[in-house]
Structure formats: C-alpha cells, structure tokens
C-alpha cells in the first residue's frame, strides 16, 4: 500500500509529467543564462576597464598583455572558483537536507563548516599557515568532524535524527574552540582569521581551480549516482525499503558525498553562509512541485556566489568585502521575505 502510493508519487500522470519537465527545462535554462551573464559581467567589471570587443580579441589572441593578465590571471580563476564553490555548496546542502529530511540540516548548521573553521582558525592563529596548507587543514577539519559525527551517530533506525543532533552538538563545541582561539589570539591576526571565516574568493589562482575542478568532477559523478536512491529516500525509510532502497546503506553514501563537496568548497573559499542552506529550497520553489533537482540547484549556487562576489567587490567603492558577507546579506532578507509572503505549506 505504502509502496504503491510511493510509486504513484514517483511516476506522476503523463500530462503532469510533461508539464513538470517543461518547467524544469525552463528553470534550468534561465539559471544557466544567468550564470553566463554573471560570468561575462565578472570578466568585464572592475577598475581596469575591459570592453566586449577586447574580450573577443582575447579569444583570437590579439589583446594587449595587460588585458590578458587582468582577465586570464586575475578574473577568470576567481570566477571559476566562485562557480565551483557555489555549485559544490548548493549540492552539499541539497544532499544533506534531502537525506536527513530536515531543512535545517545543511553543512553550515550541523558542524561540517564549523570543523573547517575551527581547523583553519588553529592553522592561522597557532601555526601561521596560509595558502595550500591552510586549505588542506580546513578540508581535514571538515572531513574529520563529519566522520566523527557519523561514527558517534551510529547506524540503524533514527540514525539520521541522531546524526543531526550530534552534528549540532559538535557545531557548538567547535564554535567554542574557535571562540577560544579568537579570544586568545593577537588582535590583528584575529581580524584576518575573521575574514577567512566569512568566506570569499580573493586570491583565487588557477592551481586552486584545477584541484577544486578535479574533486568537483568526481564528486558530482558520485552525486548523480545517488540521485535515484535520494529521491526514493525522500518518501521515508519504510517506503524506500519497499522500493528496494535500504536507507541505512544509501544514507551514509549520500552523506559522504555531501561532506566531501562541502569540505572542498570551504577549504578553498571559507564557509560562505547560506549558499548550502538556501539553494535547494529556492530551486524547489522555482520548480513549483517540491521535487529535488540537482542540476538547477548547482547552477543556482554557482550564480549566487558569483553575484555575491560582484556585489562584494564593487558595491562599496574602495572597500573589498568577502563574498560570504553578501551571501548572508542577500540570502537572509530573501528567505525572510519568502517566509513572510508565501501562503500555504512551509518548505
């Protein structure tokens, strides 16, 4: 009985399915166009003026050396890093929220980001790290914390619930560790650590992008493989078991992919609040039927980070803010507005 209801939910009537898939394609196309527009905008914007025709000349190899330096060495890696980080965070949030069935269960709430932040704070304030060693340390922090949470949470019934609660406990513990480091550190170094802890794209370079892109490709392939069990898990553990998906086997796999995605993103760009938390719910709303769609979610995350970075760089003349501030500043009012204006069911 449950299984037949579940199958009906998975396989809607033909007409409805066609309507859904049309809406799905439209949303995906619009988000892709938005991402392209933001990329072009990011290449053109800035104190060193670059025009469209100069950009085209760059493609044919006829642009000046200065233009090439600004566009290829400064702006392109920043945009590539931003898009990858945004997509990775959005996917991580979508995987977490879906598999744990709790809209609050994004990596920045259940301890994964806090693990990276605490490790990075220790790296900066105790060992004076920066660059690649710092990124590695943040990554290791996030993965270690996630592994510890899932070991402690154990398996079996209600493992997802225990995972969330353990994660929140871990998040608080790690915040206290970070707080301790921040109160004891030298105030100037503390301020620099605070900048990292907000999350931003400054200092992006091609080697970072290459590493992130490699990790991203592997993990997105893994995420795509989990897409079907994930959709079925949404129906509840029992219904999923009826459809041949064992929740206790599928869940750790999905969570591992989500943790790895969040960890690489945070390692290179800092936590960037809200991207993981908000992307999947917004895309669900855009799609209008509450379904989970990984491609539009990734596109949305990428566009969100690029837009935030543009605003952060150029909104206040003379002040370069980290992009993570803007994701918080635009994400929060947007979510509040959605909550205040939307009638009917909560997300």
């Amino acid at each position: 009985m449950t299984a037949s209801v579940a199958r009906a939910a998975l396989a809607p009537a033909d007409g409805e399915r066609r309507h859904r898939s049309r809406r799905h394609s439209t949303v995906t196309a619009v988000l892709a166009l938005l991402l392209i527009a933001l990329t072009v905008g990011g290449l053109l914007a800035g104190p060193f003026g670059v025009g469209i025709e100069e950009l085209l000349r760059l493609v044919t190899g006829a642009a000046s050396g200065a233009t090439e330096f600004v566009v290829v060495t400064l702006r392109m890696p920043r945009l590539a890093l931003g898009a990858l980080v945004g997509a990775a965070l959005a996917l991580a949030g979508a995987l977490f929220q879906t598999v744990l069935r709790n809209p609050l269960a994004s990596p920045d709430i259940i301890g994964v980001s806090q693990g990276a932040v605490a490790a990075a704070a220790a790296g900066m304030l105790l060992f004076g790290l920066s660059g690649a060693p710092l990124a590695l340390m943040a990554f290791a922090g996030a993965v270690t914390v996630a592994a510890a949470i899932s070991l402690i949470a154990g398996r079996g019934r209600a493992a997802g619930y225990r995972f969330v609660l353990t994660g929140v406990g871990a998040a608080f513990f790690l915040q206290a560790c970070t707080g301790f480091l921040l109160t004891r550190g030298e105030v100037r170094e503390v301020q620099q650590a605070l900048v990292w802890m907000v999350g931003g794209l400054s200092g992006a370079a091609w080697p970072d992008v290459a590493v992130l892109a490699g990790a991203f490709t592997v993990l997105v392939t893994a995420a795509a493989l989990t897409a079907r069990p994930l959709r079925i898990l949404q129906l509840g553990d029992d219904a999923a078991a009826g459809l041949g998906v064992r929740a206790d086997r599928a869940r750790p796999m999905v969570l591992a992919v989500g943790v790895a995605l969040a960890a690489v993103a945070v390692a290179f760009a800092g936590p960037m609040v809200f991207v993981a938390f908000i992307s999947a719910p917004i895309v669900r709303r855009l799609l209008g039927d509450g379904s989970l769609a990984l491609v539009p979610t990734a596109l949305f995350g990428a566009a969100l980070v690029l837009a935030a970075d543009l605003v952060a760089q150029y909104a206040i003349p003379g002040a370069q803010l980290p992009a993570g501030i803007v994701t918080g500043l635009i994400g929060a009012p947007y979510l509040l507005w959605l909550l205040a204006t939307r009638r009917g069911g909560s997300s």
Partner: protein, 352 residues
C-alpha cells in the same frame, strides 16, 4: 462485560504508573536541587584562592572586612554565583520553551535569532558609542534580543497558516545568518571593535555586577511566570496543531505567551552574561528522558539543572586554566557537547 475488564485494568495500571512517575519526578527534582546546591558550594569555594568551608560560611554569616578571603567570597564569588543561577535558569527554561514551541529538538536561544540580535546591538554599541565594558552592553543586548525575537515571530507568523514550528525555525536561522554578516562587516573593518566584541561574544560570568541583575530581575521573574503558564498549552501543542485546536487550545495565544517568555528570559540572560548557547539546547535533552513529555516537570527540572550546569562550567573554567580562567560559555559548550551526544546516543530517539 468481559471486554470491559481489561480496559478497567488498563486504567488502573495507568493510574498506578502515573503515581509512580510523579514520585520519580519529585525525587528527581530533589536530586536536581541537591546538584544545584553542590554547584553553588563549589562556585563559592573553588577558584584561584581555594577556601575551606569554615571560611566560606564565615564570609556569609559573619563577614570581616579585614579578611581578604571574606572579601573574595562576598565581592567576587557571591555576585558571580547569583548571576550564574539567574542566567542558567533563564537559559534552560527558555530552551525548554523553545523546543516545545517549535517542536524542533535543535531549538535554542540561537535559533530564534535571540543571540544574533543581542550581538548586533552590542557591536553597534561598541562601534557607534565606543562602549567597551560588559555592564554597559546590558540594555543594548536586551533590546537587540527582544527586537530579533519579535521580528522572527512576525515573519514566521505572517501568512495564512500562522507561526508553524518550521517557519519560526527557518526565520530565526535566516535572521541569524544575515545579522552575522552585518557583524562581520563591522568586525572586519574596525580593529578596536574586534577587541571589545570577542571577549563579550564567548559568554562569561566574570566581572558582572549584581546591580545589573537587580535591574533585569523583574524581566526574569516575569519570564519564569509566563513560562509556568505556558506549560499546559505546550503539552497540548506537542500533540500537533489540529489536535490542540480540537481540545480548545488557543494556539496563537499560547505561542505569543511562550515567545514573550523566551524574549524576556533570553534577553535578560544574554544581557547579563553574553551569548551562552549550550545550556538552552542541552538541558531539555537531559531532562526529557527522565520526566517524559510533561512541560511542567521539564521546566521545574530545567530551572534547577540549568544553573547547576552553568555554575559547574564556570568552576571548571577557573580550575583548568588557573591562575587565569576560561570563560563559562566556552566550558559549557565543551562539557555540554559530549553530554548531549551521550544523551542522543543512549536514549531512544525522543521525538518532539
């Protein structure tokens, strides 16, 4: 007739188990009181200057201004213990209310934006008015906490279906994230603000004044009274909105009362000690497996265990980092996290 017998037996069984559980809850409550007394004792006696019982009692009953020990007890340890009791009780009660109100086991004063609001106003007080001492932050923190909670409640309850648990939690999280960004802007651009703010933001009982507690006491007491009034409506709310409404509960009124209590308690606690997050989150999880779903009992236990946990955290902070000290907020998180994780692991998943 034969079918009625098991039913009667079942009713009898329930009555007996209810007496049993109420005995167990009362005994447990007394045990909580004993734990709190022990914590108070430690808070008065332990520190960089360790005192024997006779000295502590002497300082309380027959103070001599010539004795440094007596001065330490009366001027430093009594204020910090009393403030610890008030803050711990307020946070634990508020956390219990929040988890009942939002039916979300993750709810704590951080969740409804209370700490974020208080922090923002404190940062503004530092940047705009150049204030630097915790005592000067009191009214800013209180106003910020109240403003944030009211905003979260207004947003969460807008629209047709009103303030559902998930909407409140989402609104609180959204507001917290947004405010954190604003705070970050101010911290990244102003070095002096970083210095004053980071010490306040971890939460501590040191260097707080009894005068501040006296000013905020009416708010705390009003919050506790409102919380007591909420206990029964929250029991009904726990059964779900529809059932509670069917039983004649005015949902909006119950939620507004609980929210008001949370504003008063969290606002005052945060104003006194800074944003201490863990007490409100962990105490309900410790209490729930023992007392079950009755909010009246949960609140009573929380009222005693919250202060005990906070005072113990404060005492441990004085011991481990002697001759300096570790802030109570940090220690509370460090000891609270394993406790909470142990509770989550050992108890069957107690869903709300």
């Amino acid at each position: 007739m034969a079918a009625a017998l098991p039913a009667v037996a079942a009713v009898h069984g329930r009555v007996r188990s209810r007496t049993d559980s109420s005995v167990r809850r009362t005994v447990g409550l007394a045990a909580c009181g004993a734990v709190l007394l022990a914590a108070v004792w430690l808070s008065l006696a332990v520190g960089s200057r360790s005192l024997d019982p006779a000295t502590v009692i002497g300082a309380l009953t027959d103070p001599s201004s010539a004795s440094v020990d007596h001065l330490v007890v009366r001027e430093l340890r009594v204020p910090r213990t009393v403030i610890g009791i008030a803050v711990g009780a307020a946070l634990a009660v508020a956390g219990t209310l929040m988890q009942g109100l939002t039916r979300n086991p993750l709810a704590d004063p951080g969740l409804l934006g209370v700490n974020a609001g208080a922090s923002l106003f404190v940062v503004l007080a530092i940047t705009l008015f150049g204030l630097t001492s915790p005592a000067a932050f009191v009214w800013f923190a209180f106003a910020g906490a109240a403003a944030a909670t009211v905003l979260v409640y207004a947003v969460g309850s807008a629209g047709r279906e009103g303030a559902t648990p998930m909407r409140l939690a989402l609104a609180g999280t959204a507001l917290t994230a947004g405010i954190t960004s604003i705070i970050s802007v101010l911290l990244i651009t102003r070095l002096d603000t970083v210095n004053a703010y980071r010490l306040w933001s971890v939460g501590s009982l040191a260097a707080r004044e009894l005068g501040d507690l006296a000013t905020l006491l009416p708010f705390l007491l009003a919050g506790i009274v409102l919380a007591a009034i909420c206990a029964r409506p929250l029991d009904l709310l726990a059964m779900g909105d529809d059932l509670a409404r069917g039983l004649g509960q005015n949902l909006a009124l119950a939620r507004i009362t609980a929210t008001l209590a949370i504003v008063l308690l969290c606002g005052a606690a945060t104003a006194l000690a800074g944003p201490i997050v863990f007490i409100g989150l962990v105490i309900p999880h410790i209490v729930r497996p023992f007392v079950g779903a009755s909010h009246g009992w949960m609140l009573a236990w929380a009222c005693l265990l919250g202060p005990a946990l906070l005072l113990l955290a404060d005492v441990i902070g004085r011991i481990v980092a002697a001759p300096g000290e570790l802030e109570a907020g940090l220690v509370a998180a460090a000891i609270g996290a394993p406790v909470m994780i142990a509770v989550v692991r050992t108890s069957k998943a107690v869903r709300l």
